[in-house]
């Protein structure tokens, strides 16, 4: 573990800095010469002194093309830039580029003193030497050999300390004129590498794809997360909080009572969220990119909204802590003059973040940057371990390395926490000293879910409906039950007509819809993954009955395609199972009758379906097998009836989501050995071992359970 470079490394970095300055001087001379060649006055005066003018022109041209002097060095202005790019395409080099290349090689030499593996490892050394010497073919072969030997991730990790320098060297010396500006930025430390040093593609153009005004919504933490949150302000405590909320699209704000009794506030922002490069969260890959490259991004704007919602008192002090993209995002807040006019940003700590070219709007803001030299992410702005420029003399910079060279492990917040806890005690204590006003008990914590743009209410508009409380034996619940994400399977069977007639006896409903002399019954199972009552499974057995007032099987089939609001037929409930007590308690309000409570399993995938009711020792049924090809089907509402005093209770489940109709399912229903009433009923119906006539499936749906409505049948 080391933070401080040795004296030799210091000398090399100072020399590299001086060489970069010399390169800039040479480039300015080349630009002045180019400007003279293209000056209108120089050209316009030619008719009056053609001989002298031509001699001057030739001398100027020689100065910017002499391979033994400035080299091929047109620079500046549109013509100069065009000529320079054409020259790069032809492989021509300028003296300024050669001097900058020497500067970069000295930076690599400086890093190699701290990282002897870079030069001691023959494969790494071969790659770096080839890249530095502009030997393309050899560089490619060396890179291939390295990747083959160690894999891409390890190669990247091992190169990380000199990643920016190697890329800049390649870009300076290659024949691609589009990446030269980025290489100059890295080599001279004059700004953010505005383009990819490999391809020359504009980083800003890529970052501009990340759009959105940013939004933040209060969100809760799980009990386990809340228990793990630090209850006392400290650097490790705040970083630990970032680890607790993880890369889940959230950030957290805490208030701490300092030793002086003053309550101050701390915004803690995690890094990039895994998954799609661009999703609804600003903590995606594009968000990480734009937070690093641009002064404002959806991530930083979402954080501003979170701070606004949190409600800081006027003049309250605020510290900002971020990891990875979160560090870049909080630095964007610190350099936002409007934000700093509203809030007193006292501290910023960026861990593993590319923040070298960001600058707080308030010069009194204390900034600390903690970076592991093998971590690629902080070098994304072109400045890494080999940096030789003091870009921010007022900052507290901890740029260290340890024995863990593997990315992304060395980038993880847990790894940084472990390093600061065990290996960098001085750095930790120094930062904690500066954090003294924030070192006290946490008096408030609020997590926020962040978005690129204001999100529509979940399930909008289908689940945006009026709600009302309903008392149940298990407490008050909110109706209708709204399911944001679920899956369902309905299987229609031909059952024994006599047994079915017995079920309908004195119900006022029926006769059952018949097919081929047998009665139609339905087994409906659903996994309601995210509902207003939590996640649960349900299973229902029903006899398909026609419109109670216009009986006739012929009317049922076209009705099955109708929504619940226009459907008159339905399934008379003959038994239900749920696996959640609260659902069992509210069931009489929803679909009448008391459901059984038993374990339920539900799987639905491309390969088929599997529904299991009852535990291993008391199996009620198993419905499983291949569903076969499916025809696309729209929303599949469910309508049912239940026996109710003096009539029936009509209930319905409204659904939204794509479904499929499987006309030749190879699913089989197997009734278990259980003495459960539902198992007995299934056997009576002759369904043990039966195959369904038709299955309807929905792998992903939203659903709404309304309270059942009593209807008079006589």
């Amino acid at each position: 573990m080391s933070e401080e470079p040795g004296p030799a490394a210091g000398l090399l970095r100072a020399a590299a800095r001086e060489l970069a300055d010399i390169g800039i001087t040479i480039q300015e001379a080349a630009a002045h010469t180019t400007a003279a060649i293209t000056d209108r006055a120089v050209l316009g005066a030619l008719p009056r002194a053609p001989a002298a003018g031509c001699r001057a022109g030739r001398a100027l041209l020689r100065a910017v093309t002499n391979g033994r002097g400035l080299g091929y060095a047109p620079a500046g202005g549109r013509l100069g830039t065009l000529a320079a790019r054409l020259g790069v395409l032809a492989g021509a080099e300028s003296l300024a580029v050669r001097v900058l290349a020497t500067s970069l090689r000295l930076r690599i030499a400086a890093v190699a003193l701290d990282h002897p593996e870079l030069t001691g490892d023959p494969m790494l050394s071969r790659l770096i030497e080839a890249a530095a010497a502009d030997r393309d073919l050899e560089a490619v072969r060396a890179l291939r050999a390295l990747i083959k030997d160690r894999g891409a991730v390890r190669t990247l990790s091992e190169l990380a300390p000199v990643f920016g320098e190697v890329l800049a060297l390649r870009a300076l010396l290659d024949e691609n004129p589009l990446n030269d500006t980025a290489a100059w930025q890295i080599a001279t430390g004059r700004g953010y590498a505005g383009a990819d040093p490999v391809t020359g593609m504009s980083n800003r153009a890529v970052a501009a794809l990340d759009t959105g005004e940013g939004a933040a919504r209060r969100t809760g933490l799980t009990a386990a997360e809340s228990r793990r949150l630090s209850s006392h302000g400290s650097l490790l405590g705040f970083l630990g909080n970032i680890a607790v909320i993880g890369t889940t699209g959230r950030a957290i704000i805490q208030s701490v009572r300092g030793p002086d009794g003053v309550v101050r506030h701390v915004l803690q922002a995690p890094g990039m969220r895994a998954g799609q490069p661009d999703n609804a969260s600003p903590q995606d890959l594009l968000g990480a990119f734009s937070s690093a490259v641009l002064a404002g991004s959806p991530y930083s704007r979402a954080l501003i909204k979170a701070v606004g919602d949190y409600g800081l008192p006027p003049g309250a002090e605020l510290a900002l802590i971020g990891h990875s993209a979160g560090g870049a995002a909080v630095m964007n807040l610190a350099q936002d003059a409007e934000f700093c006019a509203r809030h007193t940003v006292t501290h910023v700590v960026a861990v593993g973040s590319p923040v070298d070219f960001k600058k707080p709007a308030d010069p009194r803001t204390w900034v600390a940057s903690v970076t592991n030299q093998h971590d690629i992410v902080p070098t994304l702005d072109g400045q890494g371990a080999g940096g030789c420029f003091d870009l921010h003399p007022g900052w507290y910079v901890v740029d260290y390395f340890d024995s863990t060279h593997l990315f992304p492990i060395c980038h993880g917040i847990e790894h940084y926490i472990a390093n600061l806890a065990d290996d960098l005690p001085e750095a930790r204590e120094r930062i904690d000293e500066r954090f003294a006003p924030y070192r006290g008990p946490v008096v408030r914590s609020q997590a926020y879910l962040l978005f690129d743009r204001v999100p529509s209410p979940e399930g909008f508009p289908f689940l945006t409906v009026p709600t009302y409380p309903a008392d149940t034996p298990a407490g008050t619940v909110e109706l209708p039950i709204r399911c944001r994400d679920g899956a369902a399977l309905t299987a229609y069977f031909a059952a024994d007509p006599a047994a079915v007639a017995g079920l309908l006896d004195e119900s006022g409903l029926g006769p059952a819809v018949r097919i081929g002399g047998r009665s139609l019954v339905a087994v409906h199972a659903a996994w309601n993954r995210r509902t207003s009552l939590g996640g649960y499974h349900e299973l229902h057995l029903g006899v398909v009955v026609p419109d109670p007032w216009r009986r006739g099987a012929g009317r049922v089939r076209p009705e099955l395609l109708r929504g619940a609001d226009r459907r008159r037929s339905g399934s008379l409930l003959a038994g239900s199972v749920v696996d959640a007590e609260i659902v069992a308690a509210v069931a009489p309000r929803l679909w009448g009758g008391e459901p059984y409570q038993a374990p339920l399993e539900f799987e639905l995938g491309a390969g088929g379906a599997r529904v299991v009711a009852g535990g291993p020792g008391d199996r009620i049924l198993t419905l499983g097998g291949a569903l076969g090809p499916g025809l696309p089907l729209g929303d599949r509402d469910l309508v049912g009836y239940a026996r109710h005093a003096g009539g029936a209770l009509r209930w319905s489940v409204r659904t939204r989501g794509a479904g499929r109709a499987h006309l030749a399912p190879r699913v089989r229903l197997t009734v278990g050995p259980s003495a459960h009433p539902l198992a007995r009923r299934l056997r009576e119906l002759g369904l043990d071992g039966a195959r369904p006539l038709l299955c309807l499936s929905a792998a992903s749906r939203q659903a709404r359970w309304e309270a059942g409505v009593p209807v008079l049948l006589t």
Binding site: I26, A36, A41, A52, L95
Partner: protein, 80 residues
Amino acid sequence: MPLESETIAAQAEVLWSDARALTECADRLREIEAGLEAGGAAPGWLRASVNAHLAACAEAAADLAEAAARLTHYAERTGG
């Protein structure tokens, strides 16, 4: 056109200044190498690189001085 000649003369003056800067660059390069050698930190390849840069700086300084001189003469011819 006195204005054109003044502009050309100004360009020449800039190039004179650049020629001097390039000469100073050569001195700075020597100092860099000497400093690293004295500190025992100079990489083996540095001397050859610095020597190449030194020679190029000297040649560039001469080229710039020549161009500045030609521009000065040109400005004088067009100024009359």
